[in-house]
Structure formats: C-alpha cells, structure tokens
Symmetry: D2
Subunit: 157 residues, 4 copies
C-alpha cells in the first residue's frame, strides 16, 4: 500500500484512508509475543487481538511508570473509543512490537495512538487509537487526570 | 463518519462524539452469551471483547445465509478497519445482543454497522463499524464481491 | 481420576482414557454461544476455549444462585486444578451447552465436573473438571466454604 | 507449598496433589509476554489463559523446528487431553516463560509436560500436560507421527 506524506490515501470514492506510519511516529515501544490462538481460521492474527495489543501497550506503559494501580487506585481509565486500520497480515509465531504515543491530553481524557509492527519492521502493519476517560472508581463519574499521570503522559507526547 | 444531530453530542473541545442508537438502527439481531473471562480487572467486559462480538455478528450472519464458507471458499473477507464507541459498561453474566446493518457495499468492500445491547435494551451500550475487503484466498488480492454475497448484503441494508 | 468401566476405554498401552458422558451425568445446563475467534487455524474451537466455557458455567451458576459476589465478596474461589478431555471437534457458529455437576465438596474446596455438548446432543463433545479453593480475598489464605455456598452446591450434586 | 522428592504432596483426604517443579524438569524455554486482558476480575491471570501458554509453547517449538506447517501440512495435531495445576498467582504485566518437555511419544500421539514460570523464577507457578494425536487433515483419522516430527520430539525429551 502506497502512502502520501500526510499518511493517508484517496480511495475510489474520494474519501481518505489512513496509511502505515514509520517508527518515528511513536515514542515508546513494547515487545509483544504472539499466541497460537491469536491466529483465526484464516491463519492470521485476528482483528480483535490487535485491540488486546493496544490495551496492553497503554496499561503496561502506565503501570511501568507508576501511573496506574489497577487494584487499589481511586481513579481508573475507562475506554470510550477505539479504532484500528489494518494494512498487512501478521501471524503467530511472529514477534511484534507496539509503538505508543500520547496524541491529546484533555481535562479527564487521554487519546493514545498505537502502531503494531512486526518486530523491527520500519512501518506499522496496523495502527489506531484508544481514548481513556478517567473516572472515580466508586461513582464512575469523570475526574481530573491525576497529576502524576499528566507528568507521565507528557513524556509520551 | 457523519452523525445526525440527534445521535451525537458536542464535547468541551467542540468536536462531535457518537451517541447511542436505538434498535431500529439495525436490521438483524444476534444473541450473545458472555463469559467470565470477558470481565477484566475492573469487573466489566473489556473493550477488546466488543470486537469479538462484531466479528461474530458479521461472520455468523454470513454463514447462516450461506454467503461464507470459511473452510473452502475461494474468496474471504479481510478486515481493514474497525471502530467502537463505548457508552455504558456491561458485565458477565449479562446476556447481550448484537444488532447488525450493512451501511455500504462497494466493489470489493462492505461496511457493517454494529450495535451491542444488553439483551432487550432500547439503546446500544456500544456501537461501531467493521469493514471487510474481499480477497482471493490464494493471492490475497481484492476481488469483486461474490453475487450471492451481494444479494445477502442487500437484505441487511 | 477413577473411571467406571462404561465411561472409559483402553488404549493400546493399556491405560484407560475417559470417554464421553450422557446428559444425565450433569445437573445444571448453561447455554453458550460461540464466537468467530473461538475457531483456531484448523477451523475448530481451540482447546483453550473449553476452559473458558468451564469457568463461565461454574461462575455463572454461582452468581445466578446468589453464591458469588465477585466484586465485593470477602471470599473468592481460586482455581487450583483443571482438566479436559476432547472427544469430537466443535466449531463456530455452533450453539453449545455446558453441563455442570458438583462432584466433591471439601472443607475449603469444591470439585466441579463439566461437560460440553453441541446444543441438544446426547453426549459430551468434551468433558473435564475444575477445582476451586476458597480463599480470603485480602490474605489469599484458604477459608471454610461460606454456608450459603454449601447449600447451593448441595443442589448441584 | 512444600513439595516432596516425587513432586507430589498428600492432602487431608490422602490423595496426592502435584507440586511445583524446578527449571531442570524442562528442556526448552519459550518467553511469553502477558496482556491486560489476561487478568480477570480478581486481578490475576485467569486459569484459562495458561492453556493458551501451553498451546503456544508446543506449537511454537514445532514451527521453529520446522516440524509443523499449520497452513499446508497434510497431518495436524489434534488436542485430546489437557491438564493444569496452579500453585501461585501470576499477573499482567509480569513477563513469563513456558518450560517444555516431551514426556511420551506413541504411535500417533505425543504427550508434552509444560511449566509456567515467572520470568527467571526457580519453580513453576503452574504446570500441566497436553496430548496431541496426529490426524490426517482431510479425513481426521489418526496417522503415524511424521519422521521429521519424531526426530524433533526426541530432542525435547
């Protein structure tokens, strides 16, 4: 698939479609091993599994940075929107990497961009986004992003 | 994605966000049982699992209508784009339903809209879309949609 | 595991192998819908997924009977042993049923036998067991089974 | 949990229970990354997921050794029995390892023993077995193990 400088392409109907991105589009990389069950009946990693990679990249980066305590924290991130474009098939037993970048930090929300790469590949095999809204664990109502989280997110922008 | 005024909302930044849709937005409904492992560490069905519901609703409807033979068919649908907005949490052991509608049929692609409902609920707890491009199984190159598939899709529009 | 003569078979090496069981071997049945991703690269429901059915049947029955509050309960069941024998392949989009029976209630443990049936089939396509040890949620140490649980388990024996 | 030299322990009822094994019990190790969704509502890796690790260790070792072509091979391994004992909880984002050993090679079947370790840990957090019967892909009937496979299995005993 060819991609123009703005990383989109026109299809027959005139609408734009996302195109692969290079490694430089991401700030943090997470290694991922694949599993036999990731391959569906067509022998490729199923579209659903990419979202597990997204989820893992985001939460893993936050836990590693000390910005998420999913067992005891008073505020937790609820997912309100996810999206993925798939450019090229991947398959178990390939090793993969997720690239992660914080694209937007709002009052109580964060938008992450994530790219999935065959390990060491120059361009994403798939890419998408993932939006968290932070809520109070007890009430489920949106809250301001915790200060420490905002600092961690700043390092991923 | 364009949204009509009554199915979107403005957030603080002025951009529009999708809103829940009623049952009448979908043409075909598929019952779904949930599983213990669908609930993640927060006790709700994880965002990833909704895409398994999408996948299941689309492929299940096609198989039921005799429009998909995933073991022997010469052409298969590859997923090129998926998207989901989440409005309200769901949790095992709730029973669910997926609503399905064909939104666009192109030369070699199909766009499905899917809504996830708590069983019998009037509005989607989550909704999104799913785009298939049909390819030749051996070469992986896009092909025209099979005639029988186009007929089946017409009944879901 | 001891097997009675009519539910086992001898293989070439002289050891006994479990054999399918009839519906009468179970006390409680749980309907299960299958998912596209349950099918692995061979086009059958993957061996892993059966354990998700086991987990779902056990926890679902307990929640339904008011014997498990997984969000707030002081005691929770930790899984210490699981086992499955597979007799015949199943595949999405088949509808399934899990049959459940309590086989042993100990001081702090419960052993469940579970059978997976194609919906309405007379014999298990797979069957196995699942052992819970009840622990204090805070300390992780074994505790006596809660009284209400013991009563519910008695109805499943 | 204490374990005797035969790697089993007696419980109150007099039956023996498997106990953890050291790294020396396995011949081949496979690194595994965990995923957010592996953690269930109790915040630990769910019992089901261990079988995905088993499946991945076995099939990954065979593919790496050139002994499994899951897309085009004439003979494939069907799983007929799996078993797991769980000794200590694990949780995302821990890195893990699967240890693998071939325990028995029959005419058309193979029994693998698998141990799951926290990365670098001296003893299994869980361990079990996994039995493959090789069948003709087209007929589903058992066949003799392919010669190259037998050679690969010999190196894992």
């Amino acid at each position: 698939m060819k991609h123009s400088s703005d990383h989109s392409s026109n299809d027959a109907s005139g609408s734009t479609r996302p195109a692969p991105l290079p490694r430089s589009a991401y700030r943090h990389f997470v290694p991922l091993t694949t599993r036999w069950l990731d391959n569906d009946a067509y022998g490729h990693i199923n579209n659903v599994v990419y979202y597990s990679f997204f989820d893992t990249a985001v939460n893993g980066a936050l836990i590693e940075a000390g910005a998420l305590d999913f067992l005891r924290g008073d505020t937790i991130g609820f997912v309100v929107e996810t999206h993925c474009n798939y450019f090229a098939p991947l398959a178990f037993p390939q090793a993969l990497e997720a690239g992660l970048r914080v694209a937007h930090v709002g009052g109580s929300s964060v938008r992450y961009e994530i790219g999935i790469f065959a390990s060491g590949a120059p361009e994403t095999a798939a890419r998408g986004h993932f939006v968290h809204v932070y809520v109070d664990r007890a009430t489920g109502r949106p809250v301001a992003l915790p200060e420490h989280l905002v600092k961690v997110l700043g390092e991923l922008e």
